[in-house]
Assembly symmetry: C2
């Protein structure tokens, strides 16, 4: 039987208690960094000449069960912005972890400067239900028709109705991105509830 300890229990002082639990005011950049990493997608679209482009996007979310809607938030300065407005279609592609080099190129170069898809070595395949092509080999792709849009500051939200889905279930590990544009492959540890 273990000898009963004669030491007093450690009781945290009020000061330590507040140091642990008090919320700190943060700068915006610190707060954004703490909220990441975020799922990272490549949005394909057609430009005014019908040429496909792929841009890196982290500002994406689902927004309705029925109908099945997804929204993306696109900077007004981005090359893809005019094309999505014109053609009212886009595809949300979740690049697999083996496509990280291409994903970096699509997220750091501009379509204003040339054919990023060629530069990144990506292959395109016909989508099921839209003219905009899907990127071959991605984890999953959502084909969208724009049904609404809303200007939000320096971006525009495009709301897309999902009209086709394809993917590669055996490549389930897709990419996440930090606020400093570092790409991550995320290993999830399930938390017991």
């Amino acid at each position: 039987m273990a000898k009963k300890s004669s030491r007093r229990l450690f009781i945290p002082s009020q000061d330590i208690f507040f140091r642990v639990f008090k919320m700190q005011n943060l700068k915006e950049s610190e707060a954004v960094a703490l909220s990441g990493p975020f799922p990272y997608v490549l949005v394909t679209s057609l430009d005014k000449n019908g040429r496909p482009n792929a841009m890196g996007v982290a500002w994406v979310t689902r927004t309705s069960f029925d109908p099945f809607l997804i929204l993306i938030s696109i900077d007004h300065r981005r090359y893809s912005y005019e094309g999505i407005k014109m053609h009212k279609e886009f595809v949300v592609n979740y690049p697999s972890i083996d496509q990280s080099d291409a994903a970096v190129i699509c997220g750091s170069k501009s379509g204003h400067d040339g054919d990023k898809i060629k530069l990144a070595g990506l292959k395109l395949v016909d989508s099921v239900s839209v003219k905009v092509p899907t990127i071959e080999g991605v984890t999953v792709a959502f084909e969208c028709e724009v049904v609404d849009q809303l200007e939000t500051g320096d971006h525009t939200v495009f709301v897309g109705k999902v009209v086709g889905t394809s993917g590669n279930p055996e490549k389930s590990r897709h990419l996440y991105v930090s606020s400093k544009f570092q790409l991550f492959g995320m290993d999830g540890n399930e938390v017991p509830a």
Copy 2:
């Protein structure tokens, strides 16, 4: 020195090539599962009586650099929906991994049925810039004033201007959620570009 193998090199047939690289059509539920896990937040708001509520939300994203805007997508049936419409404020709290039990309760119970914050054992602290309180001990919290909204199918997008940020940088590991409402703590493995 190893004996040179006399076996012929294995050349994948065209059939295998297509089996590896061809995209599969997926059901919507399969596609959604493949795109997760998603960052998981607790949105605090006030109800019509000024009582705070916290709901689990995975449909959240930033939507403008300047002004700093965040949007959340809220189901019309959720208890928090009317309160956010009325008070035009909400706080996006990223629960830390040590708050997973409380995060499950806030994401699986309804504010229609009682005080979830009490049930979950969460403590609230005054926000810096809005009346809606912040959840103590979260990784990071974004205080938002609603500047616009858009109905998207069975949800409404609330666009929030971020007017305050607080957090606990030492609790950087926050929660992610799968499409089947399993919670994950994510360990990021940086992908070299």
